[in-house]
Amino acid sequence: MTRTTQALVVGFLGAVLLRLSLGDGYLRYVTDWMKWPLVATGVVLLGLTAWMLLRPAPGEHDHEDSDDHDGHDHGHKVPAMTWLAIVPGVIVFVASPPSLGAYLAERRADDPVAAAPDAEILPLPASDGPVDVEVAEFMWRAGVEDGATIKDRDVRLTGFVSTDENGNWYVTRIAIACCAADASASRVRVEDYDDAPERDSWVAVTGRWVEGTAPGGKSETAIEAASVEPREAPANTYQ
């Protein structure tokens, strides 16, 4: 790898990180608190690139001499593996991998989901209309005290659509703790609404909990839909 190529590899990675973090792109891969560390990393890498391009070329001859004598090139040779450093940037620009969606959720559907928080379960706020509840929260509420906190309440769940091989469809969310590698999915089956929206599209499902359904129970958590409205996908699709 020539010195110029080395600089370009570093610069390419910096530019990709900067581009992802200045828009909403980084939210497809990591949590929102990573924004400023990524901006800083991009800026430092681009600065480093400028320095690498502008630094005076070392006297090639001095270097050859010292290299030969222990058979080690400490100067500016880098392992061939460094070429791989361009792969993430190429993939971001060419394929632009989207947020994890229905495909992953369907594969992870049988994974156990997060347990209910240990603290006392507060009742849902009083309200005339439907109450917005996160999909994961709806699931653990269904499992606690036989679903007492959501029984006979109108709720609204927002998420994307995933399906199963039996023709059911689900309102689904994916949660990440650190980056997309540790993603876990939670989903609630939507009943009484056969006209399933398109897979991976975003919807708000208003309805009531189907009594007796809970995670790990005889029947997976379900909602009896009164209405289903299409929604725009949020900038940050993860919880």
Binding site: P97, P98, A181
Partner: protein, 328 residues
């Protein structure tokens, strides 16, 4: 740091040009054939792999750069004299001190590899530096807090993780001192980068970054592949068996390469497994995974990695099982 360098140096001019062209052509072919390749691949599968791969790289990049900056500070500004004042003279004593020093560096395991390399460069005994490498990602406060959050009502899990990880790091350091003489000498020789002190600060930053980034990307590619292609249900089938469960989660921790701040949440989701098996997952992961093994092979050489990686995994499993049996 490849052992083939002499050969390569001899054919330098001709070889380098060929390599550049080959890689450029391969890249070009991949880029141009994408349109025809993608429909052949399972599109969802490829996208999922891509998302997880990019996610691991993006998440690691700031930590890697942080580690590289810190290691450049050590290489450029810290004299061997100053370091020898901080690190105890006897490596036998230095090993536990390095283990405890790991508490003070909250960060990702990717940051620890270049820092360890720079410590060895500056004359710190390799066994001491390696103990730091194992301890830093595992026992820092950020990791312990996230473990407490992921295991509500199980404070023993946090204590067990802290103890088992610390014991692993110190035990590996001492084993290397007692048994790994030859390996450590090789490492000292390999690590001694006489030019490090001559290079400017930025020179060291770019050198270290270029040396580590490719191996990080390789590790991320492999980890993302496992994450995408191996369904978790395969892992869950062995949950009932005590020994098989432990070995499976140890292997899984190695191949999925999660960052140590988030692995507790994944461990907590393995509800079917025993607490000891979950602890094994939490102790093996930060100490050794496919991404770290790849970076260590790059920094310290393949021969070293082939011995060091199994040693760490076996020690980590033994220590986690012991502590788990005692505390959990």
């Amino acid at each position: 740091m490849s052992t083939k360098t002499p050969v390569r140096a001899a054919e330098k001019s001709g070889f380098r040009l060929g390599q550049t062209e080959v890689v450029a052509i391969v890249l070009l072919v991949i880029l141009l054939s994408q349109r025809w390749l993608l429909p052949l691949l399972d599109h969802d599968l490829f996208n999922t792999w891509g998302t997880i791969f990019v996610a691991i790289v993006v998440q690691s990049a700031p930590f890697l750069l942080g580690g590289v900056l810190l290691s450049a500070v050590i290489s450029t500004f810290l004299s061997e004299k100053a370091l020898s004042k901080i690190v105890p003279k006897s490596p036998v004593l230095g090993v536990p001190v390095a283990g405890l020093a790991g508490i003070g560096l909250p960060g990702c395991e990717c940051a620890a590899v270049p820092v360890t390399n720079s410590l060895i460069r500056r004359g710190v005994a390799p066994a001491v530096a390696l103990t730091f490498l194992l301890a830093a990602p595992a026992v820092n406060p950020a990791v312990l807090v996230s473990t407490a959050v992921a295991f509500p009502g199980q404070p023993m899990m946090v204590l067990a993780r802290f103890l088992a990880s610390l014991i692993t790091a110190v035990a590996v350091g001492w084993i290397m001192l007692a048994r790994g003489k030859l390996l450590l000498e090789r490492l000292t020789k390999l690590g001694r980068d006489e030019h490090a002190h001559e290079r400017s600060f930025l020179g060291n930053v770019s050198h270290d970054f270029l040396h580590a980034s490719g191996f990080l990307v390789l590790g991320a590619m492999l980890a993302a592949a496992v994450n995408t292609f191996v369904p978790r249900s395969v892992v869950n089938t062995v949950a009932g068996q005590a020994v098989l469960g432990i070995l499976t989660l140890a292997l899984f921790a190695f191949i999925v390469a999660l960052c140590s701040e988030s692995d507790a949440f994944v461990a907590a989701s393995f509800t079917a497994f025993s607490d000891t098996a979950k602890l094994v997952f939490l102790v093996v992961g930060p100490a050794m995974d496919i991404k770290l093994a790849s970076m260590e092979a790059g920094q310290f050489g393949m021969a070293f990695a082939l011995r060091f990686v199994p040693l760490v995994i076996i020690t980590a499993v033994a220590s986690a099982v012991g502590i788990g049996w005692w505390l959990l």
